[in-house]
Every structure is written in structure tokens, then in C-alpha cells.
Symmetry: D2
Subunit: 220 residues, 4 copies
């Protein structure tokens, strides 16, 4: 794996900027359009033209509703944002990848699907759908030399989930030290570097796997 | 744990008969109505009156579409059957359980969410949502003395998934011996007995857990 | 599964009393001899004569040494108590079980092998050996109709690990509520009931599996 | 993460050559001495002087004895080679790492500890001890800015485990396609590249984690 280990790769990133990928030599098509519309995924993929790697990042601020109070509209909105775009993105990119026997998809998922958290039932369910989907598709398309994997994030420094005011709170820092073995947030840079690694040819050996990036909050 | 270890328990079972539960002394309200309608869950729960235990069994014949060919209608139908009824069932039963500080929910899930399988992406995703949901709600309501857990089934003898003609096929038996450590299907009786155990007071110590019942196909 | 669901079973239990098993109808041979001597396992099994079920419970007070300070004698003592007796017990009971195509082994292991804990490196390593051993042997002997599984305990009420003075400490109760979803210790009775279930014929479908009994501290 | 992302790092590798690490800029002290002698670990570490990263690779040809036939000498030899050197290596390197608040240990473990395999009980047990040990120590030393993780390998191209004659066998290739989602062996290069990544500063966010490198044979 050399300096520009994504050199020559065309990467489509949804809902994120892709700066770290570009730094490693990738040509990045970053798209921040909402993907909730049923035709949006196909349009984004079509606009990006040839795609070697898809980084499927779907973000949504996690509701904190108690399970007994979750209404259908919360549930539907979260699944519309985090889950239903996935098969649309996949069917838009997979045929070309399978045809040319080369391609990679990395889903930026959440460790909330791997360990129970209070007041996170809707979000966890949606994230659980993502990871199980990746395991299944990853197994299915591996023989075509297409690699599908996921990162399962939690406690990653991100202004949406952990705004500066929260991070400045000593109680929050105390909680991090108590609950997260790493004792601090994972930096956005560390997260992006690992994603870049998984997008490179060096990572051709991984298929259908889920990689926690959550400061040791889950061990695997 | 005695003979009639569900004696005095009122159990609501969806999409299944509940015979084994009744044999252990439970009063069983079995409901086979479809639960895809948004009001159906509340109606079923309301009709059942007092519920000590909910066995949330949601069944759907798993499509075998390749991921690249999955259309929105398949995805929507599977999620409508397996996923979206869950929060509706839960919000219908949880408040009373929390109020009386006693109650149990067992979700009959699938091990397809725990290990990748080809041509099962839609189904696996839906099952993954279920298990992650259970982990989260199980953690949340445990302090109220309400226990929420899931069984993750696969290779359980069931005429929907493994009809007699399939089972009679020597190639299928060969595959079972090769892929499933148990070397045979789990019987419906074994599955139901374990579910009954998890519904009993003896199992009050389990919260937010997922129990594979799949002949050792996954170890945990 | 009826009242006396271990009726007619001869069960050998090491390092525990087996009262709950007896209550379910089993004939229990409980042995509290140390098993560190290389010949001890064979002698205990031989003395017990016919054994339908072996409950391999090996206990040792977990050292709390920092990893950087662990000396060989701690390591050797813990492995001598928890690990090395296992293959001796197994080779003493397995041939007869395989010959008669019936038998069960349940290893009482620890969830310390499933999730990292500070100051528990020696103990966790030994417990990790147990669980991986069970997974492997369970897969190997399943075709002979012999079922080998493990319980992975933590936060189970036990005077060795949680003496009354510890339990009376409000800080300990606070820690339980914070770290263990169940919010209390699992009772010894709950743990023993589940072990009894896994020793019964109803549990013939489980092979090579690990069942956490730790108040939801790990989900699976 | 740049070209020479291990530039300036002094890495001690046991039982392997470390070529890939050197290519990324590391100064590599590779040691192929047996580590079964109780003093060997300390001597190797002492000879290497300052160590930024320890790659603890302990290899042993896996016995294929049936569990019922495993004798104490097999068990002892495997644990002497794979398990008991670990705490000796760790206590030799950890104090300096903790003192300077910087350091990394990567244990090259096996996925045999994560999923049951026939005729591999001794080996799996030893590998299980390694992974649980890593999880525990990783959690313990993380607050000192020392990162301890493991790779869990299986189906990696290695002349010890998969000699050319085996690989040339069509039945073996058939088995790979059936059992391993990747459909081929992971190359030694891919394995080493990932290890190099985990040894770099980019991977400071991982603590107490286990990363399967086994062609998707386990998903996480």
C-alpha cells in the first residue's frame, strides 16, 4: 500500500465530503443530496458515471424517544433516511461492478446495532438492518470480486452527534472515560483513514465484514 | 421451574399457535391476523386484554432475489411484514408492563441477521433490524422489570421454510450435515420449548439478549 | 419438557452441589475435589460410573493483577485450575457418550472471555480458552448426538465473587445499575435453572454454543 | 497516513520476518527464536532495546487430534507455544510503553477461536485464550495510550497451513469456494498490510479489538 493508495479510483461518497479519500489520490464525487426520494439514489449514481468505490454514508440525528412512545412517523423517517436508500444505491452500482469484476462498497454504519443502548430503539433497528444487509450482500457478491463491508461507528467525533458544547462538559468526558475503553472520542480523521484503507485494493480480502470503530466499546 | 411453569400467564402470540406455551399452563391468545396494517397491532393487543408475555412472531417467506435485482416493492413488503409491526406491538404492550413492573417480550427472529447468506439480502436486513431493536429496547426497559429478548432461528423444521419435498431430497440432507453442526433441522418442538422457557419467570435474568436456535450454525 | 425433566439422568457436577439438577429429577454425583492433579479428572469420572451429563464447573478466584505485573505462577495456577482439567474431563467422558450416541457436557464458563475487563487478563485468557474449546468440540461431537455447550457467566450472585459485604455497598449497587442492564445480580437459582434446562433433552438442538448469563452485560 | 507510515517506529516481530513493516519505514527486529523457554520473552525484548510496537506472532502447526484422544502432552505443547509466552512478552514490553504513554501490541491470533471447527479443540482453546487476553489487556492499558489488539486469521496463504500441494488440489479449491465467502485464500501480503496498518498511528483509535482476517469466514 503506497502513498496514493487510492490513485486512479473513482469514489462516490454520499452525505460526506471525502477529503481524506481525495488526499489518498481518489477522484471523489461527493453527494450531499437527500436520498429519501425513491429515484434519488439512481440519479446520484448515474451522475457520478463510472464508480470504483461507493462509500454509502447515510446520516440521521438519532431520536431519543422511549420505545413505548415511538410513533410511526419517527420510525418511518429514520428508515427512510438510513435503510431504504441502501438497496437502491446497491442496485444502481452493483451491476457494473459485477460486470467488470471489480468494485467495492463500504457502508458507514453504527455500533448501536451491536450493543444495546437506551432511548435508541428506532436508530438501533435501522442500523441493525444496515449491518445484516452488508453481511448478506457481501457474501453474495464476493465471488464476482466485489467487496462489500461496513464500519460500525460510535463515539466518533462528529458535530452532529457530539457538538462542542457537549464535549466541553466534564460529565461527558467522565462518561467517555467510564464507558469507552479508549477514554476519548475517535477522531474524524482516524475514522476516515480506516475507511480509506478499506476502500483500497489492500483490503480486497475483506468481504461481508463489519468493523467496529468505537473506541473499543465493542470488541468485535 | 416446575411442570406448569407458565401457569397463570396470559400470553399473546402472533402468527403462531402457541400450543407448547399452553401445555406449560399459559392462557394463550394466538393471533394470525396480518399485522401490516398500521392499526392492526394495537387492535390485536387490545383484544387480548391483559398480557403478561408477548411472543412477537412475524413470518414472511424469504425472497431469494439477487441484491442487484431487489426492487422497492420486495423491500417494502418484507419490512412491512417483519419490521414495522414491531414498534407498534411494543408500544401497545409496554406501557402496561412498565406500569405493573412485570412483563416479557420474546421476538422470534432469525440467525440470517447474524451471518451472511447469499440471495437473502432483503430478509437479512429486516431480521437485522429486529435483533438490534431487541437489544436496545431490552436494555431500556430492564430497570422496569420487563424482559425483552429474541431467539435467532435458522434451520428450524417449519413447513414454510423447509417443506417435506425439500427435506426428502438427499442433497438437502447432505447440505445440512455439511453446513449445520447439528446435522439435522432443529425440531419445531425444541424451538417452542426454548421459547416457553424464555417466557417463564425462570428467565427473568435475561434482558436484551439474542439466543441463536440454529443447530450451531452460529455459536452465539 | 415436564416437571422432572432430568428424570433418569445421571449427572456429574464438578465444584458445585447440583441441588437444582437433583430437584429436576437427576441423580447427581457432585464432586468438589480439586482437579489440578493430572489424574484427578479420570478418577472423578471413573468413580461416578455411568454419566449422562457432565457439568464442568471449574472455579478460581480471579486475580486482579495488572497485566504488566502478572507473574508466571499466577498464570500457571489459573490455567491449572480452569483450563487444563477440561481436556482431561472431556477425554474421560466422551468415549462412552460417543459409543452410546447420547450425552451432554455443559461448561460453566465466564463472560469475561466475551468482553474486556481491566485487571482480569489472566482470568479472561483462561476463560477464553474454555469457550473456544467448547465451540470446537461441540462442532466435532455433534454428529455423534453428543451436545457440548457453555454458559458464559458474569454478575451471578455467588459468595466467592460477590460476598455479602460487597453487595451491601451502595457503590456496588450503583455500579450494577450503571454497567449491567439487568440492574441486579443474576440469582444463583436463575443460573442453575438455565443450566438444568441446557442439560435436559429439550436442549438437544444446541451444539457448540455459548450462552451468556450476565444480566445483559453482553447481548450474545 | 502517508507512504512511510511506520517511519521512525521500532517494531519487534516474533516468529515472522516483518518485511512489509520494513517497507512502510519501520525499523524491524524480527526474532524467530522459540519462546517456550520461560526466560526467552524477556531476553528477546531486552535484546531489541526500545520497542514502539510489538507484533506478537506465535505459530504452531495445529494438531488434528479428536477431542476424545487429546493427550496432556499435545495440550501442554500447544499452550507452551501459543499461550504462555504472551504474558511474558507483555510484561517485558508494557512497563516502558506505559511509562512513555505510547506503544502498540498486535497479536496475530486465529479465527479458530471465533467459530467451531472439528479436530481443532486444542488449537482453538489456545487461540481463544489469546483473543480474550487481548480484549482484557487492551481495555486495561488504553488509558495509558497503549493500544493492544488482535488479528484473527484463518484461510491466510501460508506454507505451514496450506502447502502448495494442498492448494493445487481441486477439492481444496472447491472447499474454499464453498466455505469461505472470499472464495480464495487471503494473501500473505494482504494480511501483512492490514497488520502494518494496525501498527501505525492511524490506528490509535483501536483498543482491545479483534479483527478477523479470514475471507469473511466470520463476519466480525
Amino acid at each position: 500500500m503506497g502513498h496514493q493508495f487510492l490513485q486512479g479510483k473513482r469514489v462516490l461518497v454520499t452525505h460526506a465530503d471525502g477529503d481524506v479519500l481525495a488526499r489518498h489520490g481518489a477522484t471523489v464525487a461527493a453527494n450531499t443530496d437527500p436520498l429519501t426520494d425513491t429515484e434519488a439514489a439512481a440519479a446520484v449514481v448515474s451522475a457520478a458515471d463510472h464508480i470504483d468505490v461507493l462509500v454509502a454514508n447515510l446520516a440521521y440525528a438519532a431520536p431519543t424517544t422511549l420505545a413505548k412512545d415511538v410513533a410511526d412517523d419517527e420510525w418511518d423517517a429514520v428508515f427512510a433516511a438510513l435503510v431504504h436508500p441502501l438497496p437502491r444505491l446497491f442496485r444502481a452500482v452493483l451491476p457494473a461492478m459485477i460486470d467488470r469484476r471489480a468494485g467495492k462498497i463500504l457502508v458507514m454504519g453504527s455500533a448501536a446495532a451491536l450493543r444495546g443502548m437506551k432511548r435508541a430503539s428506532t436508530y438501533s433497528a435501522a442500523r441493525g438492518a444496515q449491518l445484516a444487509y452488508v453481511q448478506s450482500v457481501g457474501t453474495e457478491v464476493a465471488p464476482h470480486n466485489v467487496q462489500v463491508n461496513a464500519i460500525a461507528q460510535n463515539f466518533v467525533d462528529n458535530p452532529t452527534y457530539f457538538p462542542p458544547a457537549v464535549q466541553a462538559n466534564p460529565a461527558f468526558q467522565e462518561r467517555l472515560k467510564r464507558e469507552v475503553p479508549l477514554g476519548r472520542l475517535v477522531s474524524a480523521e482516524e475514522d476516515a483513514e480506516f475507511a480509506a484503507y478499506l476502500c483500497s485494493d489492500a483490503a480486497n480480502c475483506f468481504v461481508g465484514q463489519v468493523f467496529p470503530v468505537c473506541g473499543g466499546w465493542v470488541a468485535r
